[in-house]
């Protein structure tokens, strides 16, 4: 297809390459570097989407980031499918594939557009009202249908193959916005030598200089000046210039989030480039130069494709060299639309008429338009637009009523005035102030170290803007008060404005063609399909606050965040309420300024890099043996070691039996380990654990319980006293960091008088548990300097010596109920010592066991696991561990909490054993327990199962449970109601195997 709407000689893309692209399957030619919107317009395509609620045909409203309508899907391959891309932002590359959204079966014929006809049923607040009856229909009828019909675009269904990077940066002056104001501010700041970052969301710097043909600075065309100034900035060592970079969020203490679109505009980005880069910038001073956004006119059917902002048409012409029509109409309440009409007329485009709502405006642009022979009408309104898939006419009427006249057009350019972009200022918690004379909200009270300049500050005129911005840039640099900044000072001069345009103010709210009593659709918010009528209706139905009006109508709540709609919506609400605008107030602007991809926020933190993975020294051996691993916190732990043909249950049963028959080796390296050292180490242990420690002899171990101040179990573990001033403390695997924090907290803040040092040694020691009747026989041949006899090394003792020639802390302890040892060796020797022990073990028929067998074996003995059998509401008494609380102690953390009335009351849930009446039935962990299975639902639940396993050693299932008054119920029958029937259980003690504990020395 020939690009018929390109104007020879117009635009700035003359040297560029041709790019082929497709839209909805149709092939087109464009120019590389222009936007998709520009390329489609060059091909005469205006219809690009369907609206959210009414499925009305939509075209391009804007030429920038504020675009509410032209949202398309860009597809690179099956995984790279990006929905809701603004065609006005997406740059064209050869081979780009785009599709329209929210239509079926085709863009030109969309079945759901019936919603437009049925729209009286879809009025403001319809979500809150229409689907309330019958209640039961919501889940099965309304919700599925609304979900199918609602939403814009389709989310990709495959993992994102692109990668995203992130950077932190610091600077003295951060300038946001690269138009005339931003460039002037950046120049002034950079010339002082301070570190400057200048960012702009567009590919090209210049802002409105892209379309303002009347601007001349330092003797050049405004846009050319901008390119030269940015080149100067880029060449300076103290300046970083970021294009295609949107500041989306302004956070506390001048912390600003920016997203740089690195490769979305490239045909073949290659793996070395990220798709986007997140910049997190901390700036001493921020200069906001975010410009202003043009508002549309609110009149009937103002959403027809071909109706757009005047500045957009001007950008397409002056920057891209594309005419948006052949015979355009203009509807305005503002001078700036005249400049668009003049530029188009001069480029050879027909301008049917300018309709100006103002009564008798004067000015040079008006005179110039007339001089070019353009028909100019004052005091008139466009009361409706003709056409459906493309605007075909505008109907004009004197604004106070009178005869109608319909003018054929193929595009309408509109301008109601300009809204300062105070989004980032507002996000910085600054308070906006309403200027009654100019009818706009401008920055009022600042909350952070920032300053607004140019159009976003309500400053009119290029000359005033550059004066203000240059001074602000210099002041920001000075206020950042950097040492040694003067070293790089460059002599600069303020840019001189030779010619500029001036735009007067315009209007807010609905124009005469939008009602008040008509049922026409005069759109305020295009993306959420909110009309002037909807806002009036919201007020009539009792909404008084603009925040309520916003939520009731959804005005300003779409992904464009109301960039074009907020002020109109507010003005209509204020008029309907009969209140001045500042009394109705503005809704709060929130981040992000424009939509931000999840990818850029997540960055590299996905897949294996989402969270660190911790592996023990013995991990490679376990992996080589075919172990199946489970995640415990960040650790990978060997779960079980299946042999050929074994499932998990067979492997675990074999491992459990082997331990009790001969011996098993277990990698216990993940246990938390803390070295408590110092003259007051024992005093400290007395305060942090329930147990007494002062009298524990060096060389002996004790099972310790740690409470929180509220008296509930926080952690447990075996503690070995190596010397009078040195304890080797072990914690649960998952609890190690919080136990360390808990200890440090008390040591630093409550007991700072104690002379103690705490060191985390979890990673320093590899721990090999050797458990079972043959355990001593396996270890003894490898040990030097430790007497392994029961008399010299009894249960619960610890010795230092050597194993396989390396230092060891050898614990005699058991978490299986068998004779057992835990061999601590420096982590670097972990695997070597394991392999030596494994070789010895093979002589005795020992095997390796994993965490599942460890759990079963400890449950057979009734040993608890903190966090599984306890849940933060279990006291030592509840867990049957009263014996571990030092009765003579006068203080420890939790001593008072434990004595609270509720914690000593009768009937508390206590840990007990459960045996199912049918020994083959294994209960589900978490299953609830009731006393009477025949009671009415909802039943009174008296407890729940905390641990449950098949025990091959016992030849039956076993379980632990927290049951109200549990120890008094031993022998009773209780019931576990499950979906497939009620399971009968008998309450028992917690020890299922070797109740007398004889095997510890067996």
């Amino acid at each position: 297809m020939i690009a018929t709407f390109r104007i020879p000689g117009a635009g700035r893309l003359k040297q560029a390459e041709t790019a082929r692209f497709s839209f909805d399957g149709q092939s087109y030619a464009g120019v590389e570097g222009e936007t998709l919107a520009s390329a489609l317009l060059a091909n005469g395509v205006h219809l690009v989407g369907r609206s959210f609620k009414y499925h009305r045909p939509r075209g391009f409203l804007s030429a920038g980031a504020e675009e509410p309508n032209a949202l398309v899907e860009i597809k690179r391959d099956s995984a790279r499918r990006t929905p809701n891309v603004r065609a006005t932002v997406q740059e064209l590359y050869d081979g780009l594939t785009a599709q329209s959204q929210n239509r079926w079966p085709s863009l030109a014929f969309d079945v759901s557009a019936l919603g437009d006809i049925a729209s009286p049923l879809l009025s403001a607040g319809f979500y809150y009202k229409t689907f309330m009856w019958p209640k039961s229909a919501w889940k099965n009828f309304y919700e599925p249908r609304i979900r199918a019909a609602a939403g814009l675009g389709v989310a990709p269904d495959q993992p994102d193959p692109d990668h995203y990077s992130a950077r932190f940066a610091h600077c003295d002056v951060l300038v946001l916005g690269g138009g005339a104001a931003g460039i002037a501010a950046a120049l002034a700041a950079a010339e002082t030598g301070v570190r400057v970052i200048l960012a702009d969301e567009q590919a090209d710097f210049g802002g409105s200089l892209r379309f303002e043909s009347g601007a001349r600075i330092d003797g050049q065309d405004g846009f050319a000046w901008a390119q030269g100034a940015v080149a100067t900035l880029k060449a300076m060592d103290n300046v970083r210039v970021l294009s295609r970079t949107t500041a989306f969020g302004y956070y506390a203490q001048n912390f600003v989030g920016l997203v740089e679109r690195v490769s979305d505009h490239l045909q073949n980005p290659g793996r070395e480039l990220p798709r986007e880069r997140l910049w997190q910038v901390r700036a001493k001073r921020v200069v906001l130069a975010t410009g202003a956004i043009e508002r549309h006119m609110v009149f009937a059917d103002n959403d027809r494709p071909g109706i757009m902002l005047a500045s957009a048409a001007r950008t397409y012409l002056n920057h891209h060299g594309v005419a948006v029509g052949r015979n355009v109409g203009v509807y305005t309440a503002n001078d700036s639309a005249y400049a668009a009409a003049i530029d188009l007329k001069k480029a050879g485009v027909g301008v049917a008429a300018i309709v100006d709502l103002r009564d008798n405006p004067t000015g040079s642009v008006i005179d110039e338009a007339r001089a070019l022979g353009i028909e100019v009408n004052f005091g008139r309104a466009v009361i409706r637009a003709g056409g459906k898939l493309r605007v075909s006419s505008m109907t004009v009427q004197p604004k106070n009523g009178g005869g109608e006249r319909t003018i054929p057009v193929d595009a309408i350019l509109m301008s109601a005035g300009w809204t300062p972009s105070v989004h980032l200022f507002s996000q910085s918690r600054g308070k906006v102030a309403f200027n009654d004379e100019t009818k706009r909200f401008v920055p009022g009270t600042y909350a952070q170290d920032c300053v607004s300049v140019g159009a976003c500050n309500g400053t009119d005129g290029l000359s005033a803007t550059i004066d203000e911005a240059y001074a602000a840039g210099a002041k920001a640099a000075k206020d950042a008060s950097v040492k040694n900044a003067g070293a790089n000072t460059v002599k600069g001069t303020k840019p001189k404005v030779d010619a500029s345009e001036s735009w007067s103010r315009g209007m807010l709210g609905a124009a005469p063609g939008a009602g008040p009593d008509t049922t026409v659709k005069a759109f305020v918010d295009f993306q959420n399909d909110v009309t002037a009528k909807d806002i009036r209706q919201a007020v009539h139905e009792g909404m008084r606050s603009i925040e309520h009006v916003k939520r009731f109508t959804t005005n300003g709540m779409a992904t464009d965040q109301g960039k074009t709609s907020n002020m109109h919506g507010l003005a209509i609400a204020a008029e309907t309420l009969g209140k001045p605008i500042p009394q109705v107030g503005l809704t709060t602007f929130r981040a992000p300024y424009t939509p931000v991809t999840f990818g850029s926020i997540v960055g590299h933190a996905r897949g294996p890099l989402f969270d660190p993975t911790r592996k023990t020294a013995i991990h490679p051996w376990s992996a080589a043996q075919g172990a199946v691993f489970e995640d415990v916190g960040q650790w990978k732990r060997a779960w079980y070691f299946p042999k050929a043909g074994e499932d998990m249950h067979a492997a675990v049963d074999r491992e459990c039996v082997t331990v009790r028959k001969t011996a098993g080796l277990f990698d216990a390296s993940t246990l938390g380990k803390i070295e408590v050292v110092g003259p007051d180490a024992a005093k400290f242990m007395e305060l942090l654990y329930t147990n007494p420690w002062e009298k524990l002899e060096p060389g002996r171990c004790r099972y310790g319980i740690m409470l929180r101040e509220d008296g509930f179990i926080y952690d447990d573990g075996v503690v070995g006293r190596l010397a009078s001033d040195r304890f080797h403390v072990t914690t649960t695997t998952g609890g190690a960091p919080r136990v360390m924090n808990h200890m440090e907290d008390y040591l630093q803040t409550e007991f700072p008088h104690l002379n103690v040092w705490l060191t985390s040694t979890t990673e320093q020691w590899a721990v090999i548990a050797v458990q079972g009747p043959k355990s001593r026989d396996i270890i003894a041949p490898l040990v030097e300097g430790i007497d392994m006899s029961d008399g010299a090394l009894p249960h619960m003792s610890v010795r230092e010596g050597r194993i396989c020639g390396v230092p060891t802390r050898l614990f005699r302890m058991s978490f299986t109920g068998e004779r057992g040892f835990e061999v601590n060796v420096p982590a670097d020797y972990g695997q070597a010592v394991w392999e030596a022990l494994w070789a010895e073990g093979q002589k005795h028929g020992a095997g390796a066991y994993g965490t599942e067998a460890m759990h079963v074996l400890r449950a057979e003995k009734g040993y608890i696991i903190v966090g599984q059998d306890t849940d933060g509401t279990v006291t030592p008494g509840d867990a049957g561990l009263d014996w571990a609380v030092g009765k003579k102690k006068t203080d420890f953390v939790g001593i008072r909490g434990m004595a609270r009335p509720d914690l000593v009351a009768k009937g508390r849930k206590q840990l007990v054993g459960l045996k199912t009446k049918d020994p083959k039935v294994v209960l589900e962990e978490g299953a609830q327990i009731v006393g009477d299975p025949k009671q009415a639902i909802p039943m009174a639940m008296i407890g729940h199962v905390t641990s449950s396993y098949w025990s091959e050693n016992c030849g039956r299932s076993i379980a632990l449970a927290l049951v109200a008054g549990g120890r008094d119920r031993i022998g009773e029958t209780l019931y576990v109601p499950m979906p497939n029937g009620t399971i009968e259980v008998e309450v028992t003690g917690m020890v299922f195997f070797d109740e007398k504990g004889e095997r510890l020395n067996g």
Binding site: Y251, A252, Q253, F255, Q280, R282, R429, A447, E709, D710, N741, E744, D745, Q748, T749, E750, P752, T890, D891, I895, R896, G897, A899, R900, P901
Partner: protein
């Protein structure tokens, strides 16, 4: 993300390095076991949640690992000052909004 000055490192560092540790100046009784139910309730459960100035504890977790105290304005999130653990509540605050 906030910037927090660690009174031990004597540097402003990003919030990522720190962890909040709850309200400050809640002293644990020297005779804990003898604390009344009411006093224990105040000590363990009751916390202020002011709109404005709050005294709170932070830990420079990924720095010097020290616990310290801070005065923060919950309206602006601004830190008015930080000081070492064990030091008394400051009598005068710099630049307080109220």
């Amino acid at each position: 993300m906030l910037l927090i000055r660690c009174p031990y490192c004597e540097e402003e560092r990003p919030e990522l390095e720190f962890r909040n540790a709850g309200e400050a100046h809640i002293a644990r009784s020297a005779d804990m076991a003898a604390t009344s139910d009411d006093d224990f309730e105040k000590f363990f459960f009751i916390r202020s949640n002011p709109k404005g100035i709050i005294y709170e504890r932070w830990r420079h977790m990924h720095g010097c690992a020290r616990f310290f105290n801070a005065v923060r304005d919950t309206v602006s999130d601004r830190f008015l000052m930080t000081y070492k653990a064990g030091e008394p509540k400051p009598a005068k605050l710099p630049g307080a909004s109220e």
